[in-house]
């Protein structure tokens, strides 16, 4: 039996109040506190300084590179994530569970190791890498390698966001569409996609946030050449190493701000959009509330 929710703060029991306080306090200590401290430091010398640091050529170059990588990674992994979800949930084939488990591998592997794996596979001394390099398509220490690194670390995010929805909604709607004469593409476009759109949005947002913040794999794979293969996060690292913390603070605030703002924005939009669509019949009857979409834990 779940404890009943209190109607107002007045009705909360002692232990419930303590629990809420503890959780909020923990969140404050770990997340909120440091974030506020960063913001203060970044703005200490004044807004003018902030903008100046931000618009320096190296900073801008790094932001542009981050933007390019993030865009490529998001588009690729969203498409891949949707396809993978459909395959995992709707198809039955040997090795499906294995694939499901392996999908989380990028989370289990340190990004630095991921970067290293890419160098081994596609570096200038590998068979693939040297071939492509000779053809004018070098991978490692260039943009393609960095995109690959981003793809690796964000691989499971969209799948984990979309697959649970597909699982829960079931294939009945898609089956009905077939009986009504819809071919595969029409069913996908008019039934499946609208059903998973919030899963896609949320998953993509996570990909963007993760990609913006990727550091370890990029450090290894990019060679960190200033002005050429230095992303925003690498720029932050560089600024800290060169004892110019102000540049680091400014860039950090921008990166964190963008990620955070995006996730908040997504929540707000989703709250205002059609609530009804995401409750299953059973959930709706039970709680009368919208079910929120979160990436599933590994099963």
């Amino acid at each position: 039996m779940k404890p009943p929710r209190p109607a107002s703060a007045m009705e909360m029991t002692g232990p419930q109040r303590f629990l809420i306080g503890a959780v909020v306090g923990w969140f404050g200590l770990l997340v909120f506190g440091p974030a506020v401290a960063l913001l203060r430091r970044a703005l200490e010398p004044g807004v003018g300084q902030f903008v100046e640091k931000l618009t320096s050529p190296d900073a801008l170059e790094s932001l542009w590179l981050t933007a390019k990588i993030t865009a490529a990674v998001t588009v690729c992994n969203t498409i891949f994530g949707i396809g993978m979800s459909i395959v995992l949930v709707r198809q039955r084939f040997w090795g499906r569970r294995l694939l499901d488990g392996i999908l989380d591998l990028p989370f289990a592997v340190s990004p630095v190791i991921a970067g290293l794996m890419l160098i081994i596979l596609y570096g200038p001394r590998s068979t693939v890498g040297s071939r492509l390099g000779n053809l004018g398509f070098p991978i490692v220490y260039h943009l393609p390698g960095m995109i690959l690194a981003g793809l690796f670390v964000t691989l499971p995010l969209v799948v984990r966001s979309v697959a649970p929805i597909l699982e829960e909604v079931g294939s009945d709607q898609e089956d009905v569409a077939s009986t009504l004469g819809a071919n595969w593409w029409t069913t996908f476009r008019r039934i499946t996609l609208p059903t998973i759109r919030w899963g896609i949005a949320y998953g993509s947002a996570l990909v963007v946030a993760r990609s913006l913040g990727e550091f370890g794999a990029l450090l290894v794979v990019s060679g960190n050449i200033i002005g050429r293969t230095q992303t925003a996060t690498l720029y932050v690292h560089d600024q800290v190493e060169s004892f110019e913390p102000q540049g680091a603070y400014v860039m950090s605030v921008v990166l964190a701000g963008v990620s955070f703002g995006m996730l908040i924005g997504l929540e707000l939009i989703r709250n205002r959009s059609h609530r009804a669509e995401y409750a299953t019949e059973e959930n709706e009857e039970k709680t009368g509330k919208r079910k929120s979409i979160r990436p599933a834990r590994r099963h």
């Binding site: 709607q173 089956d175 009986t179 009504l180 819809a182 009804a276 669509e277 409750a279 019949e281």
Partner: protein, 356 residues
């Protein structure tokens, strides 16, 4: 024959879901596939729809071999137990979906949708979303949607299973009326015997992937072909031959019916085919002790125990129960009026019916 299924088989792993099933549905009729969970009825329906592929066998729809046709081209309408309405579309858009696929002109679509919404009495809800509707309303939308593209065959998979019992009753009557008007050949899957009887022209009883018996509902009830059908359709008392023989031997008024030896037969008596009498007359009757008397509206259910401990239940009207002043603990006599004897030693799988 609008639907002809021949030698259909399907297995899932080690489980034989459908085992060499053959039957046909005459054009314009509403036929039930009736059976307990796991009997294969939903699998058969889905195979006819093309949502599952059979391991062997053929399916013919209105004379055309549909075995290898994809679902889209079979011209069927399907109604699911859990409605499967498109949640992100309004009622009107749901119903229009099949027509839009057919690329009909907008005006024609609008007209047909209006016609169907009127038919299912949901015109006022045209612009609502499915989750704003009640279960019964949603199922009516699902029906309208399935009927919109004028399917040649309508398949319903336990369509009322997810609804409250009152709504279920209302929709059963409503569906029958709808069928009487539209005459679309329909196949209806259910585990509810009463539902099958109320709604359908014919019933196909399934058990463990095989057909037990098929025919008009009353025929199946009165002349069941196997113990399974007897037990599945309606209520029944199951008696062992030793019980009957034991009671007959104690008395000069045995049942005028050949009872097979023990392990070689099963005897069935329906609760309404047993009479309760306070005293023994000239007729065969079995002594029994009333254990419990349950009034059920205008009926009464009497649970009794026979001398050897066998439980028997009898259905009489509440009026009769009151008139006789029946109470728990009384010793009475139970008189059988109609019994079915399955003799397992003969080749015949059917029961012999004896009216006493």
């Amino acid at each position: 024959m609008d639907i002809v299924v021949r030698n259909l088989s399907k297995r899932f792993g080690n489980f034989q879901a459908i085992d060499n099933v053959s039957f046909s549905v005459p054009g314009g009729q509403l036929v039930a596939l009736l059976g307990p969970s796991g009997s294969g009825k939903s699998t058969i329906l889905r195979t006819i729809a093309g949502l599952e592929n059979p391991d062997s066998g053929t399916i013919e729809l209105v004379g055309e071999d549909a075995t290898n046709l994809p679902t889209q081209r079979r011209g069927i309408g399907f109604v699911f137990q859990h409605f499967a309405l498109f949640r992100h579309m309004t009622v009107r858009q749901n119903v229009a979906f099949g027509l839009e696929i057919q690329k009909l002109p907008k005006a024609e679509i609008r007209e047909r949708v209006d016609e169907l919404l009127a038919l299912v009495q949901l015109t006022a809800f045209a612009d609502r979303y499915p989750l704003q509707l009640s279960g019964g309303q949603r199922q009516r939308v699902a029906l309208a949607r399935a009927l919109a593209p004028k399917p040649r065959v309508l398949l319903l998979d336990e369509p009322f299973g997810a609804l409250d019992s009152k709504v279920r009753e209302e929709l059963r009557i409503w569906l029958r009326r709808l069928h009487d008007e539209s005459h679309v050949t329909s196949l209806f899957v259910t585990h509810d015997q009463q539902e099958a009887f109320e709604v359908c022209d014919q019933v196909v009883v399934l058990n463990k992937g095989r057909i037990e018996q098929a025919g008009p509902p009353q025929e199946l009830y009165e002349n069941p072909a196997s113990p399974f059908v007897t037990e599945f359709l309606g209520q029944v008392n199951i008696l062992r031959p030793e019980t009957i023989l034991g009671m007959d031997l104690d008395d000069e008024r045995p049942l005028p019916v050949p009872i097979p030896g023990s392990n070689e037969g099963t005897i069935y008596v329906r609760p309404h085919d047993l009479e309760i009498c306070k005293s023994r007359g000239d007729f065969p009757g079995w002594p029994a002790l009333i254990r419990r008397l349950t009034p059920l509206g205008w009926l009464a259910r009497v649970e009794l125990t026979l001398p050897d401990g066998t439980s028997v239940h009898v259905q009489i009207t509440q009026a009769i129960s009151r008139e006789m002043g029946l109470e728990a603990g009384q010793e009475v006599y139970v008189r059988p009026k109609d019994i079915k004897v399955f003799d397992h030693t003969t080749e015949d799988t059917g029961a012999v019916n004896y009216v006493i």
